[in-house]
């Protein structure tokens, strides 16, 4: 019974350890690879996307592999990121299809359209014709 609790705790400790290892790998990269990797990592944070720790760690691990490989081979940075670093960063991040913060909103949008369609077909008075856009937004917040 306590096992699960302990597992949850050690699981998160394990993730913290992995994250530390990742930070150390990025920190050990020679220049210019280190700066480039850190700049991209900053962009990932703002770009958002992945929210579950496991997927994020897989992504960061692969990311560190990429730069260690590039540094070992002496591949020019530009050859890795291409002409458009933003494009590269986003393509890379999109490869990880773990839970994303936008998923909830995607499901909500899909459902809202389905509900609206159904309401229209049944001609049921689901939508109050007198309700303004403000009302509609309030309803969505429920």
């Amino acid at each position: 019974m306590a096992a699960k609790w302990v597992e949850t705790l050690t699981g998160s400790l394990e993730q913290k350890k992995q994250y530390k290892q990742y930070k150390a790998r990025i920190g050990a990269l020679p220049e210019p690879y280190g700066s480039v990797a850190k700049a991209l990592q900053r962009y990932f944070l703002y770009y958002g996307g992945v929210t579950d720790g496991e997927t994020a760690l897989t992504m960061l691990g692969d990311f560190a592999d990429l730069w260690e490989r590039a540094a070992a081979d002496g591949t020019p940075v530009r050859e890795i990121v291409g002409d458009d670093p933003v494009e590269f960063a986003e393509t890379f991040a999109q490869a990880y299809t773990g839970t994303q913060w936008i998923d909830k909103e995607r499901a909500r949008l899909t459902k809202a359209i389905e509900d609206a369609e159904r309401g229209h077909r049944n001609d049921s008075g689901d939508t109050d014709p007198g309700a303004g856009p403000g009302e509609a937004y309030k309803e969505l917040n429920v």
């Binding site: 560190a64 540094a71 002409d83 590269f88 890379f92 299809t97």
Partner: protein, 109 residues
């Protein structure tokens, strides 16, 4: 023009890479080199890497880690049954599109 090419490639590069892997297993750099040989000169290595990561996540390839003299182990990618199915679907979609677009092009002349 360059932008248009990038956009068009985005939708097809996955199929192209799977087609390369259907010939034989390869690691990232070999795939980039093979693409460049075939005229895709501007492809960034990182783009190919991101794509390999994606097809790995989607379960189209099997990955084997081969130790290398320097740096981290190299990942060797090989097409699996699921990837093979996906590639066949890609070729069907491609044939359909290519045929339709060619018809439009002919009609224009």
């Amino acid at each position: 023009m360059v932008k248009q090419m990038t956009e068009m490639l985005k939708g097809t590069l996955e199929g192209i890479v799977l087609a390369i892997l259907s010939v034989r297993p390869a690691y990232g750099y070999e795939i980039t080199a093979s693409l460049r040989e075939q005229g895709f000169a501007d492809i960034a290595e990182g783009t190919v890497y991101a794509l390999l990561v994606r097809i790995e996540q989607r379960g189209f390839v099997d990955v084997e880690k081969i130790p290398s003299e320097k740096g981290p182990p190299r990942k060797v990618y090989s097409l699996n049954a699921q990837g093979q199915d996906y590639l066949e679907e890609f070729w069907r979609s491609w044939s359909f599109l290519a045929e339709r677009i060619e018809k439009l092009h002919e009609g224009e002349k």
